[in-house]
Structures are given as structure tokens and as C-alpha cells.
Amino acid sequence: MYKSLFYLTFLSFLTLPVATQAATVAETYQAASSVTDDGYILFVYGEQWDRVGESVCDKLIKSSEIQQAAASATLIKAPFYQMPTDEQKEKQSAVWGDLPQPRAMSAESYPALLLFAKDGRHYATINGKDVLEGNEQNLSVKIKELLVGLKKQNDLLTQAASATGIEKAKLLTQASLIPNVFRPDKVLDEVKTLDPSDQSGCVFALSYHPAGWGEQHKATAYEAYLPEMQKHLQNPMLSPEAKQGLYAVAIGALHKQATYKDFATMRELAEKMKALAPDSQLGRAADSVVLYWAQPLTYEKGWSKKTFPPTKEPVELAGDLPIRVPGTYTISFIQERGRHALKIESVEAKIGNRSVSKDEHPGSAANPVENNEYVLNIPKVSPDLKVYVTFSNTSAESDSIGRVVITYGRPVKKKDNAREKK
């Protein structure tokens, strides 16, 4: 039995894909003997202006981990000069050869890994902290991903070459939207020709740009925007991140008109936006949107004109409340601006529907400041613990802005200077 297991294991090793040709290191572009489909990776360092760049590139280019990740690509260490003289330009060009050198306003940060396809097309750049720190592990992963991306892109472009019409448009679009791999030149123009009425959604997917989308809808009302959003949410060519942008515009439009009743809808939209890609920029922004736009009252922002509900009801004091341990807490209301004084009736702590502490007395945050501190005894801290405030301000007396202060312990009694002197 062990014997058969051994053979089985041996056979399975034999059937594994054999590692392709290992990466080769060349001194210059011209010196690269043969170039495979994995193209070139240039390890670019600042010559005479960056004290660490060259040693980082030396380390990386010699790293077996990087060489393995680079598959059969040709690795070249390339200098990049600051305000180069003619002689330095020549030295630089001697290494770079026919590969395009960074243009005046290109966005590399050095040291950088510039990845070129076999035909010299610049298809990706890796720079930033990982390169600066020479993090072989992280860079190996990125290089591998990009080589896979390049292969995928080339395969799709090859398929597209023999396809026609909308099918071709889709293949070109897919090839253009591979994460972190630069889009081939003039794809959008070609896709527009292939699918002039954008039946496939490819033109929209390729043209979509978050800020452009925002600007385009700067004056669109929420209700008018919804059908458009629903239509584009169905577009299969759009990435989850792009779809998050569609929600963002809806949230933004709602925020512009927001009344008390819109807060719940905004929270719902933010949740949907987050669910699409929780770790993306907009996924992470969803929580801030809820905190800053979709809550009438927060610890972080305090109260404002939008805080007061149309009918008298408790308002949740949302946000990251500093109630971390059981104990006595004082909630104070400090008015900063506004014609109307904030009037408070009660402050109550609840876990679920159960009230755990309540301080009920009339208080005023201005004109004059009177009994504006509320004491809560929190016996137990729970993620479900919520604090509610009931105000007596009506919507006609809502011109009031201020901050909420939470202090651990009972209110500190104001010092009576006269008594102290005695």
C-alpha cells in the first residue's frame, strides 16, 4: 500500500507543470540574448541622487525569490539620472536600449520595477514602500500576478484578433480591465466602433471614471438618478469597485437634500456599497459616510440643525462612544454656535430594548447654560449598548450647533473661588 502511495506521489510530481526557463539577468537591453513572452523587468534606480536605490536594486535582482517569480523575463538593472548631462543621457540610453524611458511627467517613484512586454510595451510598474524596503516576498507575489495578468491580456487580445462585433468588443474590454496591467492603446476608440450603441456596456465600462461620474452628476437629483444607477448596476462588464461608485453618487445626491427621514435610506445604500468590495476605498468610506452623513447626532460631530426629528423622539448618540468599561459617565452638551439654545430632556443608555441607565431632567446648553450634564451608570459594556438623547427643541428652534463631551466619572463641581480663598 505504501509502495503504491509512493508511486502515486511520484507520478503526481511528474505531472506537475515543469518550471519554465528561469529569469536571466542582462547588463543592458542590447546584451539581452533572447527575450521570451515574459518580456523585460527593469530595476530602475536613481543614479547619483538616491543613496539607497542601487543597493536595493542589486539586492532584488540577485534574489532567487524574485528571479523565480520573474519566470523567463529578462532582468536589467537600469540607472536613471537627475538633471542629466549629455554624457549621462548617453550612459542611461546605453542600458535602456529601445525600451521607452520615462517621460517628463510619468509617475514612477524610484527605485522602481518597470515591466515591459516582449515588444517593448510598458505594461506595469511596481514602486513604493515594498521596492524601497527591498521586500522580496511581497514583490515576488506582485511580479507573479503581473506576469499572469500580462499573459491573460495577451491571450484575450489574441482571441479578440479573430473575433468580430460585440464579441470582439467584450474581449478587448476584458483585456483592458485586468487589474494593475496598463490598458493597450486606443482600445476605447475600437470598442466604440465595434459597439456604437453600447449594447454590451463595454463603452461605459471603459469610459467610466469615478470622478468623472461624480462631476457628471453634480446637479442630478437623487430620484432622477436612481433609474440610471439601476441600469448600470446590471452591466456585467463593470467591476464591483466601479459599481460602488454608482452607489456613491446616489448617497451624495441624497446627502445634498438630506432631511431626517433620508438618513435610513443613506445607511442602506452605504451598506450595499460596502458589501460590493469591503476593502476598497469606497468600501472603507462607507462607515464614514454613515457616521458623518447618515446620523443625526454623533459623538464625533456633535449636534447640528439636522439633528432634531420632526416629532419628539429619542435620537441615538451614534459614533465611537468612549464607553469602554463599566462605570459612571457624564454626558455634557457644549453649545458652540446658533441662535437657539439646545434644550435636553433626558439621556438614556440601552442594551437592545432594555434601559440600563437614564438621567431625566430639563437641561439647557445656552442662554443660560443650565443642568447640561447627564449622568449614566453603565453596569456592563456591550457592543449593543446605545445612548439616546431626547431634546425639547422643535424644528422651528433648530439653529443650534455644539459638541457632546463624555467624561468618565461624575461631573466635576465648579470651583467656587470665593470659598477657596477663605
Partner: protein, 859 residues
């Protein structure tokens, strides 16, 4: 050495005028020499000390370090008295030769610097300081409110929960630390000297000549006590500041700048840590390791916000917050010359993805907490407009140790980067720029930066030392209530080094304090400035005169005749433009106001001033083109059509008549040949405007001259996407051909066409500056009819600065074209301010009838 021999003659003449105004000096007014008695024994001892130091190994920390610490910094008044006595003993008189001899001794230079620092400590404005302190207290109170419950929880939690709580508290603690440091950092030398670390540092620094001179004279020395307090705290963490010149410069420059702008002292410490630690790790651009101290002040003085404690709000003011700079150091590491284009890594976005405008809080709010104090990453990922993008570019450079700063332009924000020894404007739409970091407060003019640069040239060190010595002597005399003697000293300071802006400021302050109504004193100052500075830094002088001197003259009821003499003195000396173009019309209006007698200039005054200017600048082709273009605006103003037209007779028949007369004068000047190339009388002026890419002047002069020319036959061309971006720009051909007629240039950028010809050389080109930055989709060029029009190969290049070496190729038109039209598409819509067509394929001329650049505006 530029000590002017006529100094004494001037001083003598000064003593004679306005004696009434100087009455407070008293009858026993000494001559400058008398002010300072000699103590030859001590001076000899000091000379000996200097001799002893010769031949010793050079100390990297300074050229001269005195033995022992003899200054009592615990009492500034005592310090001032003892230092003053030391200066008096060493200085035999106030003649240039004597002062020169005095400053040749390093011990004496140290005394002067020490005196200046002590003096600056006494100049703190108590009222505004109280306001600053009160604001800091409020911020601390807020920070404490946030910290209190978190701290209470921390004391009750254990293990993992405690760790988690600490992580959660990171920003609350940081915020509190900044607020607390701000409140606890002293402001005066007395307070600093009372602490152990402060005393140690003050004693160490005060003995070091180079260090003290840097503090006292490298720029503004405001609140030196605060600067020393920051320095002392930094030395606690980085003792190498006392031993390593680079670390010393980082800490000192940061301390001076944070004290100057009254920025948060805690953030000063953080910035010192940033530069020291990254310098030690060799992570900064090579430029940083050799910058002179004045450049270090620019780098370390990068805008640090408004003392805001809002850690999670990455507004423009927070561009140089340390987390933001650290991100830039890791992600925007590029060559010094490329920082000018680095802002275009970010998207220009007026609206964010939530469709909220950059002008409102909705632009940043949805991202609160995601980019804590990291403005750069925020702008990179979310976007911004000109303000955000320019702060991104400038402070990315600073983060890497390259001097840069942001600038305000009309309705726009740009930045400048120091590349080599040249300031390169970036994302700039106008020459009218005001600098956001000032060498001298209240002077925002761009050319001030150039003056500061020249002032700090090593060649000027000796003159600067003499000038600063005179400033100290002036202050000493003012303290003794000897205003006349003080004025002599300040004049000598300005004469010894006219680029020393502080000397001019002291000079004016002296008159304003001692004899504000002495017209002759102000006139003398005007004359001095015109004679010594106007020809070199016209804008700085103009700004100083119009903001300080003219209003004072007016307050002193200067007569019209004398005012005109002052105006005349300026224009007589205005031979060159200086480092850049400047707002001549602002000065003109101020001068007219000076003449006009009322709060607003009247037409008569304006006409007089303009005629005065024209009569002097007509010999300068550089000035003339700008003046003529500006003259059109003046005519427009006088005729009552301008927004700020005079209120006395707006559009009245008299004004109209005057405007007509002036227009005649203007046109006559326009058509006065200046011996420049071309047959048209305005050719010289047009070429002068082209050489400096002066769009306003080119457009005004070109349109006027084009009326005398005939438009060529123009074939129609196929447009590219976007709008035409080239119309309204300025064109330049190099080298100009003998058969070229500059009067035809203006038409080249218009639909009717014109003609421009570059001469027959190996490198022939025609360039143009777009009226505003644009993303270029393509360019159509209509070649002039001729034998090789269809054969010529053109290379299209773009640039942000038009500097040699800054051009990059973005397209070609090669091979035979069907007609005279060359269409050059671009790839990826590159952004450009300047466009250039290079003739390819060897020697030959380049003759163009029309240039049409298509694309979309960048801002």
C-alpha cells in the same frame, strides 16, 4: 566689497534736514563714531584669541566657537546691556572701514548675532501672543475632553483589551500630545533659560558664531525664545544636533520657521524627527545633504497648517504633515527636475465620486479617518483641484528634501521647485504669483525669493555681515533714543547690502517711529532705494515703496512736485525687469495715488505717472513691450471703461480726450523702431514679448501690428477632438529668419492665419505658449506655401517650462503630406503649457502660416 564711499556724504546731508523731526534726539546727539567707545585692550585680546584658533583643525560645527558662556540669557535686558557694552568696546567708530574691521573679528560678529537674538526676544507682541496662547489652551481643553474617558478605560483594562484600547487611542493621544507640547513650550529666552535643557542648549549655541548668525540673520528672527525651546527639546532626543552640522541645520531651521509662523511646537518636533531620521537612513534626495541654510529654512519651513488639531482632516494646510511627507518619500521619489510635473499624478477633480464639490466639506467628509494626516495619499486617491495638486507637488519635493513652495496666482494655486539653482514654476498659469513661504513676512512677491537667493550667495557674505552689523548698531541707537544716529546706521546697512530687505524695513521703521512726518526723510529713503535696488529687484522695491513709503509720504502731506520727483526717481532707475515680470500697473496706480492727492488716483495723476514711466522705459526694449501693453490698459482705465476706473470723472469727455491723447502717445511709442529685427516699427517690441513668452504684451502688440499685414491663403483643416487651445497664446521662432516679419506672427494663432519663419539652421524650431495649460489631443499646422511645404518633417514636442532639455517628443508628421497641412495626433492626451515644432531632417527653414492646438483645458 561694495561699501560706497559716498555714504558719509549722504549721512551728512541727512543730518541737515528735518531737524525739527529729530528734536527728540537731544542736543548731545553724537556722531555715529561716538556712539561706540573703544576698549582696545579687550579687542586685542579677542584678536589674539582668533589668532590662536588659526592653524587648528577646522571644527565642522562652526568657524568660530567662543570659550565659556558669558551671556545671561535669563535676563534679556541684562544680556542686551552687557553685549552692547562689548560691542561698544570693540568698535572704534561707525565708518564703513571701522565697521568692516570690527566684523572681520569673529568674536565681534558673534557679539552682534547674540545682541540681535536678545533684541528680537524683546520684540514679541504681547497682545497677539496672548491670542496664540489662548487658542492653544482651547485646543488642549478639547484634546483633554477626548482623552479623559479613553485614559480611564485604559487604566481598567488588561492584556489584549488594553492593547486594543491603546491602538484605538493612537490619534487621541497624538492629538493631545501636540496640544500639550504647544502649551508647554516657552516663548521667551528667559523661560527657556530657566530649564536645564534650555540653558544647556542656549549656552552651547550662543558660543557658536555660525549657528548664532544663522539664527539672527538668515531671515526672519521672530520669537527666538520659542525657537530655542524647540531646539532644546529636539536636542533631548537627538544629542547629535550639537555635533553634526546637518542635524544642527535641520533642527535650527525647523525651530526658526515654526517660531516665525507660530505653528504647533509638537509638530516642529515631529518634523525634526522626520528629517533627521530619514537623513540618517540616506533616504532623502542627494540635494538635501548639501543645501545651504537658507534653503534648509524653506524645506523645514514647509507650511504646517493652521495649528489645527483635526488629525483626520487632510486639507491643503496639512500637506506637510509628517505622515503625508513619509508617504511621499516612499511613493513620489523622483529627480528634482521632475517634481514640477509630479502634481499630475493626481486627478484634477472638482467633484468627488459622491458628486460633492471640492469647495465644500462633502469632498473630504466621506473619507474621514481613512487618510489621517496623510494629505498626499488622499489627493492621490481622491483628487483635488489646483490647490490640492500644487500642494501635492510642492510638498512631495520637500518630503524628499528638495526646496519647493506653493504660490498664489489670480484665482489659482501653483508651485515652484528649486532645480539646481533655478526656481522652476510648475502648474503655473500666470507670472503674477505670490509666494506662500516668505523670506521676510508681509512680502509675498515672487521675486523676493530670487532676492533672498542672491542675498545668500557666498559672495555676499562679507557685505551681509557689514549690513547686519549696521542694523544692530541702528537698533542700539534707537534704544538709546538717538534716532538720527540710528537712521545713519540703517542707511549704511541698506547701502552695504541693498539686497538685505530687513535693512530697508528697519530704515523705514526708524523714520516711521522717530519722524513720521518728515517728508525729506521719506524722499531720501525713496531715492536710496531707487538708486540701490530698483535696477536689480524692481518688483521688491516697487512693493516696498507702494506699501510702506508712499502711504507714509502721503500721510506726511508730500507736495505734488516732490511726489513726481519720487516717481521719476523710480522710473529713471528701472532699467531691467528683474528676476521676473511684475505688476507694473499696481505700482502705477499707487504712484498716481501719491500724486493725486485723494484716496483714489485721478486721471491727471495717472496720465502724469504714465508719461513719466514711458519717457524713461522707452530706452529699454524689455520694459517697453510690457509697458506698452500695460499702457493700453491704462488708456482703457482712463477712458472710464475699466472695473477700477477712477471715480472722479468716469468716462467724462475730459477723460475720453485724455485717453485719446495717451493712446496717441502709446501708439507713437509702439511704433518707435528699437533697432530690432524686422521691417515693421513694432517688430522689436513683438520679439521682446516673444522672448519672454509674455502673452499679454504679444497679444496687444501683435494685434495692433497685424492690422498692417495681409492674411495668407489658408486651406481648411480637419479638427481634433476638444477645443482650440492655442488662440490667445504667444509664439516664438528660433532662430528668427532675416525675412521674417514679426508683425505677421500674431495671425499664426488665429483662424485667418499669419506667418512665422525660423532661420535655416541645424536646429530650427517654432514654439508657442498656450494661454492656459491643456491636455493635447492633436495639433494641426498649416505650412507656408513653398517648394518644400509638403516635404517638411516636423517633430511635436511639449514642455511645462520651455527650458532647454525640458522638451519631450509626443508626435511626428513625417513623409509627404497631401497639402500644406500637417496633422499630428498625440497619444494619451499629454498635458502641456508649451508646444514646439522641431524641423527634422537637417538644415532648413521653417515657415508656418497657422498653428491650431486641440484638446481640453487642464484647469
Amino acid at each position: 566689497m561694495k561699501i560706497h564711499s559716498f555714504l558719509y556724504a549722504l549721512a551728512a546731508s541727512l543730518l541737515c534736514y528735518g531737524s525739527q523731526s529729530w528734536a527728540q534726539d537731544g542736543a548731545t546727539e553724537p556722531t555715529p563714531g561716538e556712539a561706540t567707545e573703544v576698549a582696545s585692550e579687550e579687542a586685542d585680546e579677542e584678536d589674539q584669541e582668533e589668532e590662536k584658533t588659526k592653524g587648528k583643525k577646522k571644527n565642522p560645527m562652526g568657524s568660530y566657537i567662543a570659550k565659556g558662556a558669558s551671556v545671561n540669557w535669563g535676563s534679556t535686558s541684562t544680556a542686551l546691556m552687557s553685549l552692547q557694552s562689548g560691542i561698544s568696546k570693540g568698535l572704534k567708530g561707525a565708518s564703513p572701514a571701522e565697521v568692516q574691521k570690527f566684523v572681520s573679528n569673529p568674536r565681534n560678529r558673534l557679539l552682534l548675532a547674540q545682541w540681535m537674538v536678545a533684541f528680537a526676544d524683546t520684540q514679541l507682541d504681547e497682545e497677539s501672543l496672548a491670542e496664540t496662547k489662548s487658542k492653544a489652551q482651547n485646543q488642549l481643553q478639547r484634546a483633554e475632553e477626548r482623552l479623559q474617558p479613553e485614559k480611564a478605560a485604559l487604566s481598567k483594562l488588561k492584556g489584549e483589551a488594553k492593547k486594543k484600547q491603546l491602538e484605538r487611542m493612537k490619534y487621541v493621544l497624538e492629538n493631545h500630545k501636540f496640544a500639550e507640547t504647544e502649551v508647554n513650550t516657552p516663548w521667551t529666552l528667559k523661560e527657556v533659560y530657566a530649564t536645564k535643557s534650555g540653558k544647556r542648549v542656549l549656552n552651547a549655541v550662543a558660543r557658536n558664531l555660525d549657528w548664532m548668525q544663522a539664527i539672527a540673520f538668515s531671515g526672519e528672527c521672530l520669537a527666538p525664545g520659542r525657537a530655542f525651546a524647540i531646539l532644546a527639546d529636539a536636542v533631548e532626543r537627538h544629542p547629535e544636533i550639537l555635533k553634526d552640522p546637518l542635524m544642527r541645520d535641520i533642527a535650527t531651521a525647523t525651530a526658526l520657521e515654526f517660531a516665525k509662523y507660530r505653528w504647533n511646537a509638537g509638530k516642529a518636533q515631529e518634523r525634526i524627527d522626520y528629517f533627521i531620521e530619514n537623513a540618517k537612513k540616506n533616504l532623502l534626495n542627494e540635494v538635501f545633504y548639501t543645501v545651504p541654510f537658507w534653503q534648509m529654512r524653506i524645506i523645514c519651513g514647509a507650511k504646517a497648517g493652521d495649528n489645527s488639531n483635526e488629525l483626520d482632516s487632510p486639507g491643503n494646510g496639512g500637506a506637510a504633515e509628517v505622515p503625508s511627507m513619509q508617504w511621499s518619500l516612499e511613493n513620489i521619489r523622483t529627480t528634482a527636475d521632475r517634481f514640477s510635473g509630479s502634481c499630475w499624478r493626481c486627478g484634477y477633480k472638482s467633484y468627488n465620486i459622491f458628486a460633492h464639490s471640492v469647495q465644500g466639506s462633502g469632498y473630504r467628509e466621506p473619507f474621514t479617518g481613512m487618510y489621517n494626516r496623510n494629505f498626499h495619499q488622499f489627493t492621490f486617491e481622491v483628487g483635488g483641484v489646483c490647490g490640492g495638486l500644487s500642494h501635492f507637488g510642492a510638498y512631495a519635493a520637500v518630503a524628499n528634501g528638495v526646496p519647493a513652495l506653493t504660490c498664489g496666482e489670480p484665482g489659482h494655486c501653483s508651485f515652484v521647485v528649486l532645480v539646481g539653482d533655478k526656481w522652476v514654476p510648475a502648474y503655473s498659469l500666470s507670472w503674477e504669483r505670490g509666494i506662500h513661504w516668505q523670506p521676510w513676512l508681509k512680502n509675498h512677491r515672487y521675486t523676493c525669493l530670487h532676492m533672498y537667493q542672491e542675498l545668500n550667495s557666498p559672495d555676499n557674505a562679507e557685505d551681509n555681515a557689514i549690513s547686519d552689523a549696521y542694523r544692530v548698531l541702528g537698533h542700539v541707537q534707537m534704544q538709546r533714543k538717538r534716532a538720527k544716529a540710528a537712521l545713519d546706521c540703517y542707511r549704511s546697512a541698506a547701502t552695504a547690502q541693498p539686497l538685505n530687505y530687513s535693512a530697508w524695513r528697519d530704515y523705514a521703521q526708524c523714520i516711521a517711529t522717530a519722524a513720521p512726518n518728515n517728508v525729506e526723510a521719506w524722499m531720501q529713503m525713496n531715492e536710496d532705494m531707487c538708486r540701490l535696488l530698483v535696477s536689480r529687484y524692481a518688483e521688491v522695491s516697487a512693493e516696498f515703496l507702494r506699501m510702506i513709503v508712499y502711504p507714509a509720504m502721503k500721510e506726511a502731506s508730500i507736495s505734488g512736485e516732490k511726489a513726481l520727483a519720487c516717481v521719476n526717481a523710480f522710473w529713471q532707475s528701472a532699467h531691467s525687469m528683474g528676476a521676473d515680470k511684475w505688476k507694473i500697473d499696481d505700482l502705477l496706480m499707487s504712484q498716481a495715488q501719491l500724486l493725486g492727492g485723494d484716496s483714489e488716483p485721478n486721471t491727471d495723476a495717472l496720465a502724469k505717472v504714465y508719461a513719466c514711466m514711458m519717457s524713461h522705459v522707452n530706452t529699454s526694449s524689455v520694459y517697453m513691450s510690457h509697458a506698452v501693453a500695460m499702457g493700453e490698459a491704462v488708456v482703457f482705465h482712463i477712458s472710464g471703461k475699466g472695473e477700477d476706473a477712477p471715480k472722479d470723472t468716469p468716462g467724462s469727455p475730459e477723460s475720453q480726450a485724455l485717453a485719446k491723447e495717451l493712446k496717441k502717445i502709446n501708439t507713437a511709442f509702439m511704433r518707435t523702431p528699437k533697432g530690432a529685427a524686422g521691417s515693421h516699427p513694432m517688430a522689436g517690441l513683438i520679439l521682446a514679448a516673444e522672448r519672454t513668452y509674455d502673452t499679454d504684451a504679444f497679444q496687444t502688440l501683435g494685434a495692433e501690428a497685424a492690422a498692417d499685414t495681409q492674411a495668407p491663403d489658408m486651406p481648411s483643416h480637419e479638427a481634433f477632438s476638444g477645443e482650440i487651445l492655442s488662440e490667445g497664446g504667444v509664439i516664438c521662432a528660433k532662430p528668427g529668419a532675416a525675412t521674417d516679419n514679426p508683425a505677421e506672427h500674431w495671425g499664426v494663432l488665429t483662424p485667418q492665419g499669419g506667418r512665422v519663419e525660423a532661420a535655416d539652421t541645424e536646429e530650427t524650431w517654432v514654439a508657442m505658449k498656450l494661454p492656459r495649460d491643456g491636455f493635447i489631443s492633436g495639433v494641426a499646422v498649416v505650412m507656408a506655401a513653398g517648394d518644400d511645404a509638403q516635404k517638411q518633417n516636423l517633430q511635436l514636442q511639449i514642455s511645462e517650462t520651455a527650458e532647454d532639455g525640458s522638451w519631450s517628443n509626443v508626435g511626428d508628421a513625417t513623409g509627404l503630406s497631401a497639402d500644406r497641412i500637417k496633422r499630428i495626433p498625440t497619444s494619451g492626451e499629454p498635458k502641456a503649457k508649451y508646444i514646439r515644432f522641431l524641423r527634422k531632417g537637417g538644415k532648413g527653414t521653417l515657415q508656418i502660416n497657422g498653428i491650431y492646438v486641440y484638446g481640453r483645458r487642464a484647469a
